[in-house]
Amino acid sequence: MKTAFIICSAALLVACGEKPQDTLGARSDKPAVSGTGVAAFTDPGWKAGDKDGWANHLKARASYGMNDHARAPK
C-alpha cells in the first residue's frame, strides 16, 4: 500500500517538474588549432593540434601575404 502510494505520488508530481533550461546557450566549439581533419585543405607544413605552429603559420601568412612593404625589394 505504502509503495503504491509513493509510486502514485511520484507519477503525479512529475507533472509539476520543470525542464532544465541551463542547456541554453551555444554549444561548445572545438578550438581552431584542432584542425578540420581534411588534409587536402589544410595549410601544408602545419599539423593539427600544434598551437604554436598554427599561430606561426597565420603570422607568416599575414606578414608575407598582406605586407607588401616587407616583400618589395629595398
Binding site: A26, A32, S34, F41, K59, M66, N67
Partner: protein, 199 residues
C-alpha cells in the same frame, strides 16, 4: 597570440568588391545575404574613401549582450560566433550591431527573418570542424585549416587586413609611416576599444 582583428586601410581600398566576392564564393552565401560589403563615403566626390565592412568581432560585442537566447560565443582567438540551432531570428543583434553585420536570409511577412547569418572570420561554427553540416550552416572553416579569412587574403590591394591584432597593427603602422598619412582606422575604436583613434 593576440586577438583576431580586421582592419580596412581606406587609403588603399579601391571598391573592387573582391572581398565581397571572395566571401560569397568561399562560403556559398545565398542571395540577399552579404556577410561583407564595401561602403563608399562621399561617393563621386574627389577624395572619396571606401571601406570594406563586416562583423568586426568586437571585444565587447553588443550582439552578444542583447541576444535573448544567448546563442553567441567567443572563441579563444576573440572571434565572435553564434549557434544557428539556438538563434530564433529575432533581429535584436542587427539593431545592436554598429556595423550592420547580422544578416537574415528572408524578409517574409510578420517578421519572419530566418536564422541570423554573419561573418565568422572564416572560423566555421559549433559543428564538427570541416564537416558538411558546418559548411552548410556557417561556411568554410579556414582558420582551422591554418589559413586567414578569404576576403583579406584575396584583397587585390591588400587594403583589408585580417589576422592577429599585433601583426595587422604592425603592417598598418609601417604603411602609415611610409606614406605619412592615413592613420584613421574606421571602426577600430568602436570594435576594439578607444585605445586607437577611430570612429
Amino acid at each position: 597570440m593576440a586577438r583576431m582583428k580586421f582592419i580596412c586601410d581606406a587609403e588603399r581600398c579601391i571598391e573592387c568588391n573582391g572581398c565581397v566576392t571572395a566571401c560569397k564564393n568561399e562560403h556559398e552565401v545565398p542571395w540577399g545575404v552579404n556577410r561583407r560589403r564595401v561602403v563608399t563615403l562621399n561617393d563621386g566626390v574627389p577624395g572619396e574613401k571606401s571601406i570594406s565592412v563586416a562583423c568586426m568581432h568586437c571585444s565587447d560585442a553588443p550582439c552578444m549582450a542583447v541576444c535573448p537566447v544567448n546563442c553567441f560565443y567567443k572563441t579563444d582567438e576573440g572571434v565572435v560566433l553564434h549557434d544557428k540551432d539556438i538563434c530564433i531570428g529575432c533581429g535584436y543583434c542587427s539593431y545592436a550591431c554598429p556595423f550592420g553585420a547580422p544578416q537574415f536570409p528572408s524578409q517574409g511577412t510578420f517578421g519572419v527573418r530566418g536564422k541570423m547569418d554573419k561573418c565568422t572570420f572564416c572560423a566555421g561554427g559549433p559543428e564538427e570542424h570541416g564537416t558538411q553540416a558546418e559548411f552548410e550552416k556557417y561556411g568554410r572553416n579556414r582558420l582551422a585549416e591554418g589559413k586567414l579569412p578569404a576576403c583579406a587574403e584575396m584583397c587585390s590591394t591588400k587594403a583589408l587586413l585580417a589576422g592577429d591584432g599585433d601583426v595587422v597593427a604592425d603592417i598598418l603602422r609601417g604603411r602609415v609611416v611610409q606614406r605619412g598619412k592615413g592613420a584613421e582606422v574606421w571602426g577600430w575604436g568602436t570594435a576594439y576599444g578607444n585605445q586607437a583613434k577611430g570612429a
